[in-house]
């Protein structure tokens, strides 16, 4: 019952977006903003082009790697920051600085370090994805309630049992939240990385299309990214709320 309702709500949002898009397209003109139908048509032809598929695969590969490194690295750093005060005090401010800095300004440095190519855009994805995960994980570990820690001690839990049976479940909701942020940030980082300096990937295709005013292609790519990011985020949210109930 509740599930059907959520599904209907989601469908309503999609219909509303499509209607608004169509309406806007009518106002500004189809050559500036191609309507949903034309975009869908372009999407179908794009999917048939080997070049596009290669771009898509390149982005997907970089994305998965950036996501994995960002999440795993963020978790490891977060545990270190949250678990050992000295490490946290010394290195966590650095993470906050990274989160606050517009990362585009760091792009020249990344290019110097990694050169032009796939590793640069992966690095850029990691740069976006890792710091928030590290910070959120550290905070989650710090907020483990003292009375739970004391309980673990009085139940004479081993350090391993403490980590797996108390720490992990206690911080899991926050880690799921961190994963959602990581999911979005890694995508952003990789795409922006591709836009600025890369010879392949969706970001590069987007930039090239902007160069030749190929608006249907631009919109088709935006639609893909939008559906992927929106769908992924919604799925993660649903997973998180299912855990809660």
């Amino acid at each position: 019952m509740k599930r059907a309702q959520t599904w209907l709500d989601g469908a309503a949002v999609i219909v509303a977006i499509l209607l608004a898009w169509q309406f806007l397209s009518l106002i500004v003109g189809a050559h500036v903003l191609p309507p949903p139908r034309a975009t869908a048509g372009r999407l179908v032809t794009l999917v048939g082009e080997p070049r596009f598929l290669a771009d898509l695969a390149s982005t997907a590969e970089a994305y998965v790697i950036a996501l994995a490194i960002g999440m795993a690295g963020g978790l490891v750093l977060g545990v270190a920051f949250g678990g050992w005060r000295l490490i946290g005090d010394s290195f966590e401010p650095f993470m906050h600085l990274l989160v606050a800095t517009p990362k585009v300004t760091l792009y020249p440095v990344i290019l110097l370090l990694f050169g032009l190519g796939d590793s640069a855009k992966i690095a850029f994805g990691v740069l976006h994805a890792l710091p928030p995960v590290a910070i959120m994980t550290a905070n989650a570990i710090r907020t483990v309630r003292p009375v739970h820690r004391k309980t673990a001690l009085t139940l004479r839990l081993s350090p391993t049992a403490y980590a797996t049976r108390l720490l992990v479940p206690a911080v899991l909701p926050d880690i799921l939240g961190a994963f959602r942020v990581c999911f979005a940030q890694a995508l952003l980082g990789v795409l922006v990385g591709e836009m600025f300096a890369s010879t392949r990937g969706l970001g590069h295709l987007l930039m090239a299309s902007i160069g030749v005013d190929d608006n249907p292609t631009i919109l088709a790519i935006v639609a893909i990214v939008f559906v992927f990011a929106g769908g992924g985020s919604a799925a993660l949210l649903a997973a998180a709320s299912r855990r809660k109930s």
Partner: protein, 264 residues
């Protein structure tokens, strides 16, 4: 009954450093006390006098800055020995586990077989009146019920020494009374030593063999009052004229200290 010493506190004191390194809070000073095996000992004292700190030291969660503590003859110093069960002042149930899994938590990973665990958990849930809530999450329970979950979680480990820090503070008066009797039953049936911190003079007077009255901070025992109730005691104690004597003695001692704790 053979009254061998279970817990001995000898000149225990503790000072908490204050964050920032300036000044310090002396929570306990020269606390000396012997609690016999199988005794029901209650601690009362003004708020902030160091009762929870004392319990942390007894549990081995905190190493005392001064003095020493022994449990069954062995020194306790900052590590929790086997045989001690603690129920904390704050709700310590795990929100991500069902009531059943909360109660079974401490039994897992101890090499007990499944049927043994199930038997102990079932009995503890029964004892605490939580049987129908076995599949509930703590968030679906009242504060008092959550505290019962924590008592059950400690109970299944069959501790020889039970430390309870105001376990009934979240309960209404009548439930509190009933829980007090459940605690008495538990004490009688397990033969464990019980140390109960409480804010309620009546509760202390009704349940305990002896009551230690603590001074305002830095806490120490200014008086211990023996009730001399029989081991098989019931709510009839409330109508016993000696009950009034005990509570008025406690109040007499506590009044001045409580005023002092409030800075008057």
């Amino acid at each position: 009954m053979a009254a061998s010493a279970s817990v001995v506190l000898d000149g225990v004191g503790h000072v908490f450093p204050v964050a920032g390194g300036r000044g310090a809070v002396r929570a306990l000073e020269q606390v000396s006390l012997t609690i016999a095996g199988g005794e029901f000992f209650a601690i009362i004292g003004p708020s902030g006098c160091g009762k929870s700190t004392l319990l942390d030291i007894l549990a081995g969660l905190l190493a005392p800055g001064e003095g020493r503590v022994t449990f069954d003859g062995a020194e306790i110093r900052g590590t929790v020995p086997d045989g001690i069960g603690v129920v904390f002042q704050d709700d310590a149930s795990f929100p991500w586990l069902s009531v059943w899994d909360n109660v079974a938590f401490g039994l897992r990973g101890r090499g007990l077989d499944k049927s043994e665990i199930a038997g102990r958990v079932g009995a503890a849930l029964d004892f605490m009146g939580l049987k129908e809530f076995a599949r509930h999450r703590p968030a679906q329970l009242s504060g008092g019920m959550r505290q019962r979950v924590c008592i059950a979680r400690t109970l299944v480990l069959r501790p020889r020494l039970f430390l309870l820090d105001e376990p009934f503070a979240a309960l209404d008066q009548q439930t509190r009374l009933l829980m007090g009797y459940e605690l008495l039953r538990l004490w009688r049936e397990t033969g464990a030593t019980v140390v109960l911190v409480t804010h309620s003079l009546d509760e202390a007077a009704m349940l305990a063999d002896r009551i230690g009255v603590m001074s305002s901070r830095p806490g120490r025992f200014i008086e211990t009052v023996a009730t001399e109730w029989p081991r098989e005691r019931s709510s009839q104690i409330l109508t016993d004229p000696r009950f009034g004597d005990v509570t008025s003695r406690l109040w007499e001692k506590l009044r001045a200290e409580s005023l002092r704790a409030m800075g008057r």
